[in-house]
């Protein structure tokens, strides 16, 4: 939970200062997907829920907005857990790329349901693609750290 708290604070303060073509990296999404891959999807869901609530609190969003968008991305990790490529960074990078798109589309759907105007194609080009690039780069830093932490905290349990 300490990892989660630090992630949320960094996401809300430090990372908000760095922009690449109009987007900043989504550290929480990267951490949640990577942790789901390293441990269990259930743990990832709990992290997505708790971390998402933290982000909503900092951002002043209605509580529940970010968890609803983030939790579905945890199931992507379930697709990769039985893969032989889990020791490589390429698999989590690929999953994070997919997760970024899913997270983005869900966010836009929630925005649309709240009555805000949404430019679907424009948002995909202007926000999702730059964010995808940044998140994939972040995986190269975050995944080895989380893999080390996961090995020292405890082995991943088999999930039925």
């Amino acid at each position: 939970m300490l990892i989660l708290a630090v992630t949320v604070v960094i996401q809300g303060t430090l990372l908000a200062r760095f922009h690449f073509y109009g987007a900043s990296p989504n550290l929480l999404l990267v951490v949640v997907v990577c942790w789901s891959l390293l441990h269990t999807v259930s743990e990832g869901l709990v992290w997505a829920f708790a971390g998402g609530l933290g982000v909503d609190l900092i951002a002043g969003l209605p509580l529940g907005t970010t968890p609803l968008a983030l939790m579905p991305t945890c199931f992507l990790a379930g697709l990769g857990r039985s893969s032989i490529f889990t020791s490589s960074v390429l698999l989590p990078a690929f999953l994070v790329a997919l997760a970024t798109l899913i997270f983005g589309w869900i966010n836009l759907i929630l925005l649309s349901l709240r009555g805000a105007p949404v430019d679907w194609a424009g948002s995909a080009l202007r926000v999702m693609l730059p964010e995808l690039a940044l998140n994939v780069l972040l995986v190269w830093v975050i995944y080895p750290i989380l893999r080390w932490l996961a090995a020292h905290i405890g082995a991943a349990r088999m999930e039925l």
């Binding site: 951002a59 002043g60 968890p67 836009l108």
Partner: protein
């Protein structure tokens, strides 16, 4: 009977809780809880934000250093030492300059009462969410801040106070998709009215401008005061592009805000303006 995986059950449980929280939070019923949680997190956000500011200054200084190094190799060691010493001085100097500008703005606009506030967590534009914008400032109900109060800098309109906690408040900036600011063209020969709406990942757009209204590139856009949510006459931005189609009922103008939301550190909250009802944006 096929057993439902536990993670699926967990997902639906957490999703149901999230949905319930979303409904309660949007209706304002969780405001006391959110306020107290925000008070608890404020010290951590302040420390982290200060660290982020130092990192930004280091990066800027590194770029300047690279320029000096290419033209003055012999003084490289001395420049390195002086740059580190200057980091602290530049921070104080920049802060003073920003505060002087804010004070000058308040002095030349004496009809409004202002309360200065420091942005403590730049949850802005694309972060922590790239789809929604918000700012947090270190003023709350204990400092007389109320929901709906307009927020400005010496450069123009930032947005308005959206949620108020005991010691911090969330601002909804005009760049957020949920934000809508009644506006008008400042030019006396036009005075066209419309609504400036935020957009995901791009500049705000002034919409619902009458087809026969006169809007030109470079026109300054100010708040119109219509609707009673913002005082009249606050600068919003400048027209970058006008979109006018004969078959549309209205024309649109893309606006470049005068406020640089990526470098916002200090803001002013107008405390003696009584706004209209703040609609829930959730």
């Amino acid at each position: 009977m096929k057993r439902i995986p536990s993670r699926t059950s967990l997902f639906f449980l957490l999703a149901a809780i999230s949905l319930a929280l979303l409904i309660l939070s949007s209706s304002g019923r969780l405001a006391p809880v959110e306020g107290n949680l925000a008070r608890l997190s404020q010290p951590f956000l302040t420390v982290s934000n200060d660290a982020g500011r130092q990192i930004t200054n280091i990066v800027s200084s590194a770029r300047e250093l690279a320029g000096l190094r290419s033209t003055n190799k012999q003084l490289q060691t001395q420049v390195d030492t002086l740059t580190i010493d200057n980091l602290g001085l530049k921070e104080v100097e920049a802060e003073n300059a920003r505060l002087r500008e804010l004070l000058r703005f308040a002095q030349i606009n004496p009809l409004s009462d202002y309360r200065g506030g420091q942005v403590i967590a730049r949850v802005i534009s694309r972060g922590p969410s790239n789809y929604l914008s918000s700012l947090t400032i270190d003023l709350g109900s204990e400092h007389g801040i109320k929901a709906g109060m307009p927020v400005v800098t010496e450069r123009g309109l930032v947005g308005r106070v959206y949620k108020v906690g005991p010691t911090s408040s969330i601002i909804l900036p005009l760049t957020d998709p949920s934000s809508g600011v009644p506006a008008m063209v400042k030019r006396s020969s036009s005075r066209a009215v419309g609504v400036v709406n935020g957009n995901v990942g791009t500049r705000p757009v002034m919409e619902f401008i009458a087809q026969d209204a006169d809007v030109s590139l470079g026109d300054e856009i100010i708040t119109s005061g219509l609707g009673g949510n913002f005082p009249k006459g606050i600068t919003i931005g400048q027209v970058l592009e006008v979109n006018k189609q004969d078959f549309d009922m209205y024309q649109e103008a893309v606006i470049r805000p005068t406020v640089n939301f990526n470098q916002l550190e200090f803001v002013l909250v107008i405390t003696n303006f009584q706004p209209g009802e703040l609609e829930s944006v959730g």
